[in-house]
Every structure is written in structure tokens, then in C-alpha cells.
């Protein structure tokens, strides 16, 4: 896939790990598509119950994966959520940022499914 500037995900990092084998990349993307929604759900659940620990934990888990998929738009936001949830403060801002994370990821899921016919 081409990595043009307005692409919201970039696979360079993933390719560094997986190599250029198309099947292997598709396989990793499938795993990403099947596991990430659960983490998002966990994040949403944390927000609903105002459970800071759960928010921090899910953000913490999402962070490395988002880095690997080169989702630069979420580089700062996901860290913001983790840090502030740990400090147990600024829930409105955390909620707002989480919405951005969720929307962006939904878009990433869609693009990935489209680009890789999954």
C-alpha cells in the first residue's frame, strides 16, 4: 500500500518487524482488527464508571500498537490519556481525547479493511 501524506496509518514500522510478506502483514492486521476493539471497549467502560485505573491500563495497552501502526495523530493523545488517568484528574479532557482516539481508530479500521480487503 502507498503511504501518502494524508494516510492516517503507516505500516513502515510493522514492516520492519514482519517483513514484506503480504500474507504475514495481513495476518497481523487481522489480529490488530480483532483485538483493538476490545481495548477501546475497556477504555469506554473505564470512562463510564470513572475508573481511572482501567482508563490508564487500556491506554497503556493501546499505546505500543498505535505506534507500530504509525497512527501519528494519536501519538500525543494516547499518552495524554494514560498520564492524566494515572494522576486521576481532568476527566472531561480525558473523555474528549478518548472520543478522538475512538473516532480515529474507527477510521483506521475501515481504511485497513478497505486497503487489505479484510
Amino acid at each position: 500500500m502507498k503511504n501518502d501524506a494524508n494516510q492516517i496509518y503507516k505500516l513502515d514500522k510493522l514492516i520492519e518487524y514482519i517483513g514484506t510478506d503480504e500474507e504475514a502483514i495481513k495476518n497481523m492486521i487481522s489480529i490488530f482488527l480483532s483485538t483493538t476493539p476490545d481495548l477501546l471497549l475497556q477504555l469506554k467502560n473505564g470512562l463510564l464508571t470513572e475508573n481511572y485505573e482501567e482508563i490508564a491500563r487500556s491506554a497503556h495497552k493501546l499505546k505500543p500498537t498505535l505506534d507500530i501502526f504509525g497512527i501519528d495523530n494519536l501519538h500525543e493523545p494516547i499518552r495524554f490519556i494514560e498520564v492524566h488517568a494515572k494522576q486521576k484528574k481532568n476527566l472531561p479532557k480525558i473523555t474528549e481525547t478518548s472520543t478522538l482516539v475512538e473516532q480515529t481508530l474507527e477510521q483506521v479500521f475501515m481504511n485497513l479493511k478497505r486497503d487489505y480487503k479484510l
Binding site: 520492519e16 497481523m28 500498537t65
Partner: protein, 447 residues
């Protein structure tokens, strides 16, 4: 080379699968993925070569998993991989024995490869070392080290066999050149400590003021010139054997320090505060008569008894009968093989000449004599003209000393007394002097 088995313990499915796939790109790696600490612990018997452990697992923390692993396997390198960017956590983990600590960022893989490379190199070196140690062991198998058929030497075989089965302290006595260090090495390399170090210390070769730091080590700055920390010989021999040669030369001050270390089984480096437990087998050797030194008050009695252990007395070569010829042949063959020369036979006249000699320098001297003879011979035989004795005791050098005649007399009598095992009557006959002359000199402590 066998597979390099890597355990990845990671509850983040995507990240774990990605690492697994990545590390499997090298076919030498056999990667196993576990999602919980318990899964990993259940499989620890598979003896992984490396464990990459996520710090926050659902069932237990990375630290707890690591502690559990360490109970089963103290060696395997464990790398903690975590999203945590917290220095104090990292420090704690490293203190608890983690090999390294990585933060989960996209560069993790480079660091993982570096670590794997280092660990593999390390493993290879360890394999090489254990192989070489086995080789050394073979070299020091009894029959390869101590040669001879005489009853005296069979008794040595018997005692050394006993010495290897236990950790008992062994005290070896024997004249110079009889092979005290060889016996010590043979004991070590045939004992259960064979894979640990053998450290030999010649006590007489170390100046008195340095001996304590040589033996027990010192801390940086403990005395002028102590620019760095030094690990002593006892610590170097940890788990293995320390061989103290010429123990009779040790000064009184050091004797009491040694005694304390042997009693407590622990030591303190010079200038240090920490006590260090030591597990070291001790073998000592001396060519002096230690009992006599104890009587004279030069050697502490309590230390003497502690060191005595299993006494092995190596007989002088001159009491070993036909071993002289057996060894002579062995040394000639060995020398020829080393120098790629055809083998020599030893003529009967040469054999007789050897058998008549007293070998004050013992086996070491015989070896030198036979090597010289091999060089001197132009034929395929070694005859008596090739055998020359250059003993330092009574040879040309002796006359160059320019002693008084009285001094020379004493030296001659002393030499013969030694040669004939302190048999005054025999010496008197040989030298054609009255035995009372010898007794008088003995009494007056002149000889």
C-alpha cells in the same frame, strides 16, 4: 547449533504475535508465546535461552513472575518489556536480576536483536569453556599425570582416589620436583569441583606485606597503591580448589588470618566491611617438615592440624626404583613427539647410570636430563655419554663457592645424610669417617 528457545510472555495479543513473528524470521530462533505468567511458569522446564517478559500481566506482575522463574532457573536471562517509562521500576527490576529493561517503543526489536546476539555469543563461549574444561580434566586424569608402578607411587594413587571423593583438605609433602602441584591438579580435575577454577598460589613467591591482599583481595583505596578493587585468590577459587604451595613459608601474622578464614568459611577483603562466604577446597603443599616447624614455633599448631587433613607424601624419585626408567622413557617419547623427532631407545649403560643417580631435583630433574640427552644424541639411541648430571647440590658450582674446608665437609656430610635417609652408619661407611664425628656434628647442630 541447537535452537535458541525464546519465551515471550505478553498479554497484548497483537504485540506478542508481532514479536513472535519478528523473532521467528531468524530460523535459529524457536519462539513460544504465553499470555499469562502462570503459562510461562508451567513451561519453564523447557529451559528457554531467553525470556522476554511483559511487566504488567493480567495474573501477576512481571517482578513476581521473575522471582518465580528464578526459583527454578537461576541462569536464563530475563528481559522485561514494558510500556512503563518509570526509572525506579527499571532499577528495581535490574536489581532483582533482570538482564535488561526495555520500554515498548518501535525500537524494541533492535534492542532485542542486540541482546539476543550478546546472549548467543555468551552461550557459545560458555559451551567452549565447558568443553575446554573437560579437555583439561582428561589431561589431568591420574594415570596421565602420575606415572609409575612402584609400590610407593601406588600408595599415592590410592590416597588421591580417596581425596577426590570428598572435600577433605589435603596436605602434600615431597621434595622439590616430585610433582606436588600435579597431584593437587589431578585431585581437583577429578573431583566434583572440576568445572570450577583451580587456583595455585606459591606462598613463598609473594612478599609478606602483599600476601593478605593477594589471598583475600582488597577494596579500592584500602592502602596506598590500591587504586582499584582486587579480588583475592580465595574468591577466584570460589566453588573450586585453592592450592597453597610452600605453605611452610607463610609468616605468623598471615597464618592466624588464614586460620580464621578456614574456621569461619568466610573472608573480608582488606579494607572492606562485607564478609564474603567462601566455598573452596584447600590443598596445601610444602617441602619443609612442618612438624618440625611447629616444634620450633615457626608454624602455628592449631593451623597445622587444620591443614593436615589427608596427608599425601610423595616419595623422592630415588626411592621409586624402576619408575626412574619408566619416566625416563616417557619423557624421551614425549619430547620426541613434541619436536617431531624419531623415537630413541635408551641403552642399558645409560639405564644403569640413571639408576645409580640420586636425583636431588627429582622428576623435574630427570625430565631435564632426558630432554638434554635427546638433543645430544645423533643416533637413534641414548647412551650413557648423553646423560649428564648437573645437580646444583654437588657439582662444578659447588667448588666455585669458595667455602672453607670445614664448610665443605659439613655440606658433604649433610648431602649424604639426606641421600641415605639420615642413616649415620651408612654415611660414615661411605665417607670413611668415624660415625662419632657425624653424631658430634649433629649434636652441636653444625649440620
Amino acid at each position: 547449533m541447537e535452537a535458541f528457545r525464546i519465551f515471550i510472555v505478553e498479554d497484548d495479543v497483537f504485540y506478542g504475535e508481532m514479536l513472535k513473528h519478528h523473532l521467528s524470521l531468524n530460523p535459529d530462533n524457536e519462539v513460544h508465546l504465553f499470555k499469562t505468567g502462570n503459562d510461562c511458569l508451567k513451561n519453564i522446564f523447557k529451559a528457554p535461552s531467553l525470556i522476554s517478559l511483559d511487566y504488567s500481566l493480567p495474573d501477576m506482575s512481571g517482578l513476581d513472575v521473575m522471582k518465580q522463574i528464578r526459583k527454578e532457573n537461576t541462569e536464563v536471562p530475563i528481559i522485561i518489556v514494558s510500556g512503563q517509562e518509570d526509572i525506579s521500576t527499571a532499577v528495581t527490576l535490574l536489581r532483582e536480576g533482570a538482564y535488561d529493561y526495555f520500554v515498548k517503543d518501535p525500537d524494541v526489536k533492535d534492542r532485542l536483536w542486540n541482546v539476543i546476539k550478546k546472549i548467543r555469543e555468551n552461550l557459545q563461549l560458555r559451551h567452549e569453556i565447558s568443553y575446554l574444561k573437560e579437555e583439561i580434566g582428561k589431561k589431568y586424569e591420574f594415570r596421565n599425570v602420575i606415572k609409575g608402578n612402584s609400590p610407593a607411587i601406588k600408595q599415592i594413587f590410592n590416597l588421591t582416589e580417596k581425596a577426590i571423593k570428598t572435600n577433605i583438605t589435603v596436605s602434600i609433602t615431597g621434595e622439590t620436583g616430585t610433582g606436588k602441584e600435579l597431584v593437587a591438579k589431578a585431585i581437583h580435575y577429578n573431583s566434583s569441583r572440576a568445572k570450577k577454577p583451580f587456583v595455585a598460589v606459591n606462598v613463598s613467591a609473594i612478599p609478606g606485606e602483599l600476601i593478605e591482599s593477594e589471598m583475600f583481595g582488597h577494596e579500592k583505596g584500602s592502602f596506598t597503591g590500591a587504586a582499584t578493587r582486587k579480588i583475592g585468590k580465595f574468591e577466584l577459587a570460589q566453588g573450586g580448589t585453592i592450592f597453597l604451595d610452600e605453605i611452610g613459608e607463610m609468616d605468623q601474622n598471615m597464618q592466624s588470618k588464614l586460620l580464621r578464614v578456614l574456621q569461619e568459611r568466610e573472608l573480608t577483603r582488606v579494607g572492606g566491611n562485607d564478609t564474603i562466604k567462601i566455598d573452596v577446597r584447600l590443598i596445601v603443599a610444602t617441602n619443609r617438615n612442618l612438624t618440625e616447624e611447629v616444634h620450633k614455633g615457626n608454624f602455628r599448631e592449631d593451623l597445622y592440624y587444620r591443614l593436615l587433613g589427608l596427608p599425601i607424601e610423595i616419595p623422592p624419585l630415588r626411592y621409586r626404583g624402576n619408575d626412574i626408567l619408566l619416566l625416563a622413557k616417557y619423557f624421551v617419547d614425549e619430547f620426541c613427539a613434541e619436536n617431531k623427532m624419531p623415537r630413541f631407545s635408551i641403552t642399558e649403560s645409560a639405564q644403569n647410570k640413571l639408576m645409580r643417580y640420586s636425583f636431588p631435583g627429582n622428576v623435574r630433574e630427570l625430565k631435564a636430563i632426558m630432554e638434554l640427552a635427546s638433543v645430544l644424541s645423533d643416533t637413534d639411541q641414548i647412551d650413557e655419554t648423553h646423560i649428564s648430571f648437573n645437580s646444583t647440590d654437588l657439582s662444578g658450582n659447588f667448588l666455585l663457592e669458595e667455602n672453607t674446608l670445614e664448610e665443605y665437609n659439613k655440606k658433604i656430610i649433610r648431602f649424604y645424610l639426606h641421600k641415605y635417609n639420615e642413616n649415620v652408619l651408612q654415611v660414615a661407611q661411605k665417607l670413611d669417617i668415624g660415625k662419632s664425628t657425624i653424631y658430634r656434628m649433629l649434636k652441636e647442630n653444625q649440620i
